[in-house]
């Protein structure tokens, strides 16, 4: 039962970070104030993902734990660049958006690799039974 809960927690974190990336890349498609308004919501969403990771990381295997810890670092960078981005305009704003997308993309990548590590460990354990 615990295994199911842990699996669900990491999968939910993955889904949350995917949604975060989607939101930022959609914001990049908008112009001016609309893009900025969307970006304003990013730090809070990133914080929610960080909290989810922190609540589930302790029960993970070493490989997954390493990836999730790195994901937190990238999500912190996502928050920072999004928060800085809303205070800028023009070329600086575009640069901030690009950095925010890159950070969010790297965070999803780390969570996705944590999922892969968890699945591989599960498959190996099943094969040994």
């Amino acid at each position: 039962m615990q295994d199911t809960q842990v699996r669900d927690a990491v999968d939910q974190v993955r889904s949350a970070t995917q949604q975060l990336h989607k939101a930022i890349s959609d914001a990049a498609a908008k112009r001016g104030g609309a893009a900025k308004a969307d970006l304003e919501a990013v730090p809070m969403k990133a914080k929610a993902a960080i909290d989810s990771i922190k609540s589930s990381v302790a029960t993970q295997n070493a490989a997954a734990k390493k990836h999730l810890t790195e994901a937190v670092t990238f999500l912190e960078a996502t928050r920072k660049h999004a928060a800085e981005g809303v205070k800028t305009s023009g070329k600086e704003f575009q640069t901030a958006v690009r950095q925010t997308i890159a950070d969010a993309r790297a965070a999803v990548q780390q969570v996705s690799e944590a999922v892969a590590a968890k699945r591989t460990a599960g498959a190996t354990a099943s094969a040994k039974k």
């Binding site: 970070t17 995917q18 990336h21 989607k22 890349s25 959609d26 990049a28 498609a29 575009q94 958006v97 690009r98 997308i101 890159a102 993309r105 790297a106 999803v108 990548q109 996705s112 690799e113 999922v115 892969a116 699945r119 591989t120 498959a123």
Partner: protein
């Protein structure tokens, strides 16, 4: 094992079926998909990559990044898009065509290092994916049934293959199933 996979289809709709199947296999836990995109080559031989309607600079970066990845996966003989020189391919965003491939600038480095050469022919589409798979069977079998031909390179080999530009290749792949609004998939 971690691999970059390119699945070539003769038909664009089939390519989106292939894309959907990959993410479906991820949902089932058979593989883990880290990122995907779909690249098209039109009847005039021009390359285009699916991309969200976004700032032109970002769309261009996607075109260059995926072009480099395609070159790294297929080799100069196959894709004719060089990784080392980062020749641009068009990022098809929001239905508008981007810049077309500058094939004259394509890198012509030694192709002997490539395990498999393949060609994305005119009118074909390829699903490019970064995946973790315990065995190659699930993807090979599913794609074969859809009429796709699967080509792989180990993630580690491609990572060592240079040309990272501002960001690694992963950055240019969508970390979820993205199908552009103009795709025949929605028809």
């Amino acid at each position: 094992m971690r691999n970059y996979v390119a699945v070539v289809f003769d038909d664009t709709s089939k390519a989106y079926e292939g894309l959907h199947a990959l993410w479906q296999m991820d949902d089932e836990g058979a593989i883990t998909v880290h990122g995907t995109t779909v690249v098209h080559r039109n009847d005039w031989g021009e390359y285009q990559v699916d991309s969200k309607d976004t700032h032109p600079a970002l769309a261009t970066a996607v075109g260059v990044g995926v072009g480099a990845l395609l070159g790294a996966l297929a080799g100069p003989a196959g894709a004719a898009v060089g990784a080392a020189k980062g020749a641009a391919i068009g990022a098809a965003s929001g239905g508008a065509g981007g810049a077309v491939a500058d094939l004259n600038r394509a890198d012509t480095r030694d192709e002997s290092r490539y395990e498999t050469g393949w060609v994305l022919g005119a009118g074909q589409s390829a699903v490019i994916a970064d995946v973790s798979e315990d065995t190659t069977f699930p993807i090979d079998e599913r794609m074969r049934r859809l009429g796709g031909s699967v080509h792989r390179r180990a993630y580690g080999d491609v990572r060592d293959d240079k040309w990272f530009g501002d960001y690694p290749y992963d950055y240019y792949l969508y970390p979820y199933e993205y199908v552009p609004p103009y795709s025949p998939w929605w028809a």
